[in-house]
Structures are given as C-alpha cells and as structure tokens.
C-alpha cells in the first residue's frame, strides 16, 4: 500500500471537494484517480481498434484488452482467460445467458429456479425465457431476515430443473448466499447454475472454480472501474456450445450471403468494436483493490458497517432489513423509518449532504415479500469511514422531527 492509498479519501475529488457523504456504493462506486488515469493513458498513447490490426497501436490495444481479460480471469479464479467475456454490465451478462443459453437449451417441461430476492436483471430475463420456451419459472423464498437455507433449493429442485440462477449477495439484504451448496445441489440434479456477482465480486474474494458455478456476472462500475464495462464468466464447454448472442464485427470466421461460421470463444460473444478503454479501466480497478488486499478491504467495510448498525440501533423508529449481525451485510444497510416515506428520507439526507438510495432497488417482488413498497439503503465501500457514519447518523436522528413527529 502506498502512502497515497492511505490517504485514500484525498484521492477522491468527488468525496472531498463536493463534501458529499457518499453512501450509494451498491448502485455505483466512485473511481479512484489511478483508474481514470489508466483509461486516459490508454486513449492518449495506445488507442486503436484492436484485433486484426497489423500496426503497432492496434497490437498494443489488443494486448491491453487481452491483458485485462487475463487479469479478470485471475481475479475471479477462472481456469482460463478464454472464459471471460467483456459485456457492458451485469444486466447484459445475464441477458446474454438468457438469450444464448436459456432460449436455446431450455424447453417446455423444463424448469428454472430463481429466488425472490433477485435484482430485476436476474429475474426479467428468466421470465422472458419462460414465456418464449414454455418452461416453468419457480421462485424460492428466504426467511424474512434474508437467510436462504440451501434446503429451500433442495425442496424445490427436481430432474426437470435445468437452470438455477441466484445472487451471491442480495443488493437489499447484503447477505451472502451459500453458492457452493446451491451449486452442488444444482449439479447433482443435472442443472447448471448462474450466479449474479454484482454485489459480491466487489466485496468478497470470489473464486469461480471453488464455487463451481457455471456462469458468473458482474459490473465494473460497482468496483471502481468506469461505467460501460461488465463481465460474464462461463465455463468453456458451455461457451463453446452456446450460439452467439450479438452478431457482427470480429465475432466471425467466414461470412457468406447464406450464413456464417463463428470465431472461437470468447470472441464469438464480443460483437462489434470492443471497449478497450473500459477493459483497461477495470484492469486498473483490480490493481487498485489488490494494492489494499481483501483483508484490508473487508476489515474496513465491516468496521463501518458494524459502527453504523450500532448507532442506528440507538435511533428510535429505525428498522434494519435483514440480519442483525453486521457480518451478514457486506456494507449494505437497508432500512425503514416508521411513518416516513423513503423518498422523503432520502431527500432529507440529501439536504444534509448524504447520498443514499430510496425506492425498490430494482427488487420489487422482494419488497412485496417483505411487505414494504420501498426502503432506504445506505451502502459502503472501503473508502467510507466512521466520520461518514457520524454525519449519516446525525441526519438520521432528525428525520422524524423534520417530518413533524414529536419523537
């Protein structure tokens, strides 16, 4: 860790100059200067269309892009960098699985199992697959505190189940699901398992081989990288049998007026000019995280989360969604305040310089299950500190009185 990294906050102009207490990190993080600079440098020094270029800039761009792919593969423990596809975001990764795998390998009579806590991006694509293929979509339900015992899957699964898709960490509960156990149950029943890693990959070490998942999706912008770059990991044998998703550009081998043969994986799934700048940014973001290391990142996040939860417990009328143990939150604290609408809560936080999110957090069915139309969420990254929480708590304490309540 360099000295600059220690003074991590000073490196985020948004946080310092704007004097904002940024607690919406699950929606998107801020970008450190080293990430911004890596992208700049790429555009200033090596920019060209990669692939097939027979000149230096293009070869450099190809290297920059492929090195980013290798870094991502290493970061999540993939067996090969050929298993990493660059997408725009988690949503596109999940849609790619649904369109290319779901629409082609699932049929009437088959079944998909997902959980009620899924983000819309891991729910709507499966609703579409069910609608178009005639297969059945089944939901499994956690306890009210977010705990989803693997037995729920065991009870629901059958030899009809062909695909299980589950989030590793819910963006509302912040709780870790036991993906290892889900994967074991899915495979034992002949199903593949897709994991939504949007909230896990930025916050805990993820090893796809260890988890034995078949697909893993995540977004760069939630882990300090620029917007517009995401990742789909998939086991090579699956990628090889899946048809392409988007068509055009370098994803082909031969094209005639009648049809085409396709390039090898992962290129088969990367149609059109790729986003080298974005990949370079993601690679720099991984370097940034590695300079701190998982121990440090997790320690910092847990500390502020614990501190926040302790302080929140002292404020009357505040109800935290999910587990009572901060270790089960991974920086995500979703809550309600009695008789105050989350949009008013967020508004009052905003006028105190605190950025939190209010609404259904793209998880309407989960909110229905929890009996709340909407909630407020404060979410931490490892650059947040206790001072942020103090500001957050002092605003929180005044919300009900701002709204005219006596206590």
């Amino acid at each position: 860790m360099t000295i600059e990294d220690r003074k991590i906050r000073e490196n985020f102009p948004v946080l310092e100059e704007r004097q904002v207490t940024y607690l919406d990190n699950s929606a998107t993080t801020q970008r450190p200067p080293c990430v911004i600079k890596a992208v700049d440098d790429y555009y200033r020094r090596s920019n060209a269309n990669p692939m097939r270029g027979l000149y230096e800039l293009s070869i450099e761009s190809t290297d920059a892009y492929e090195n980013a792919r290798a870094k991502v593969a290493d970061f999540i423990g993939a067996a090969s960098d050929r298993e990493i596809i660059f997408t725009r975001n988690t949503t596109e990764s999940l849609n790619l699985i649904a369109y290319s795998y779901g629409m082609n390998f699932l049929h009437e009579g088959d079944e998909i199992i997902i959980t009620i806590m899924e983000h819309h991006s891991n729910m709507l694509p499966w609703q579409q697959v069910a609608k178009h293929t005639g297969c059945k979509l089944t939901y499994i339900y956690p306890e009210k505190d977010g705990n989803l015992p693997p037995e729920r899957l065991e009870e629901a699964i059958s030899d009809k189940t062909k695909l299980v898709s589950v989030t590793q960490i819910s963006n509302v509960f912040g709780r870790l699901n036991d993906v290892n156990a889900f994967a074991e149950i899915a495979h034992r029943n002949g199903a593949v398992i897709s994991v939504d890693g949007a909230q896990s990959v930025p916050h805990i070490p993820v090893d796809v081989q260890d988890l034995d998942c078949d697909f893993m999706s995540f977004s760069g912008h939630k882990m300090f990288a620029p917007m517009g770059i995401g990742v789909l990991y998939a086991k090579k044998e699956l990628l090889e049998k899946m048809p392409p998703f988007l068509y055009g550009g370098e994803m082909i081998e031969y094209v005639t007026t009648e049809g085409a043969t396709y390039n090898e994986v992962p290129h088969k799934f990367e149609a059109g000019t790729v986003n080298v700048g974005g990949a370079v940014g993601l690679s720099a973001a991984i370097d940034f995280m590695r300079r701190f290391g998982w121990d440090e990142i997790q320690k910092r996040e847990l500390e502020v989360t614990r501190y926040a939860m302790e302080k929140m417990a002292e404020v009357p009328h505040v109800n935290i969604i999910g587990a009572s143990d901060p270790e089960d939150h991974h920086g995500i604290i979703t809550f309600t305040i009695d008789d105050v609408h989350p949009h008013d809560i967020a508004e009052i936080f905003n006028s105190n310089g605190v950025a939190v999110r209010a609404g259904h957090h793209c998880a309407q069915p989960l909110h229905k299950f929890l009996g709340a139309m909407s909630t407020t969420r404060a979410s931490m990254a490892f650059y947040n500190d206790k001072e942020d929480i103090d500001i957050f708590i002092s605003a929180l304490k005044n919300i009900r009185s701002e709204m005219g309540y006596a206590d």
Partner: protein
C-alpha cells in the same frame, strides 16, 4: 441541520390529512400512480351541477404527494369544475414551468410547493393528485 422544504404546512398536511378518507356518493374515481416512486393514490370526487361538492383520497406515497393532494382538495371543494381545472393547470405550470404571481396566489397554501420545481426527481410527486384530477375531469 440543513434547511429542507419540509415546513410545517407540508408536514401537517402529510401527518394529518383532512381529506384522506372515503366519501359518500363519489361519481368520479381515478387511480394515479408514479411507478418510479411508488406513489399511489385513489382520488374520489362528487360533482353536482358542475360543482365539486366533495372529495377525498386514499393511498400511499411520499409526504409531497400526500400533502399536495390534500391541499388540492382543500381548494377545489366547492369550486366549479372549470375553475378546478384552471387551478390544476396553474399548479402544474408552477412546478414544471412558469406562473405569474397572481396565478400563484390563486393556489393559496399549495403555492408553498413551488420550491419543488427545482427538484426534478420530486416534481412527479407534487403533481400526482392534480394530474389525476385533471385527467378524470377532462371530458367535463
């Protein structure tokens, strides 16, 4: 504490809405929703001889949507349809565009919501009740 626009008039209408109840003999009913916020109101009016003789609402939403709807009913009950629609037009323009001072005065208490015109994410909340009223009376 920073200054917010949640002043006493607004919070009072939110906590103790005068018109948040069922009414008898409603002959106009419409549900108004802001999907992105979750605001959801059911507006009921009783119109007799071209006059809004009573009105009430039910539902959920943020303080702004609730208070704004309650204030609206305060002003329009007892007024002719034509005037109620004029007031809706003025209110919506106050939030999303421009009004004159005279126009604003006609909105009585509801004019305190003008600040919301600077908050793009909340304008929909403020106009929900008014839009719903305007929509339900559009053929009258």
């Amino acid at each position: 504490m920073a200054n917010t626009f949640y002043n006493e008039i607004l919070t009072d209408h939110n906590m103790h809405p005068v018109h948040k109840h069922k009414i008898d003999g409603a002959n106009f009913t419409l549900e108004g929703v802001n999907p992105s916020c979750g605001d959801d109101i059911n507006l009921n009016l009783r119109v007799e001889n071209g006059i809004v003789s009573d009105g009430g609402f039910e539902g959920d939403g943020c303080a702004i949507s609730q208070a704004s709807c309650d204030m609206m009913l305060d002003i329009i009950i007892g007024k002719p349809i034509k005037e109620a629609k004029e007031l809706a037009d003025i209110f919506i323009r106050m939030i999303t565009g421009k009004v004159t001072e005279e126009e604003k005065d006609r909105l009585e208490e509801a004019s305190i919501l003008q600040d919301i015109s600077h908050m793009p994410s909340r304008t929909k909340c403020a106009v929900l009740g008014w839009h719903t009223m305007d929509e339900m009376l559009k053929d009258e």
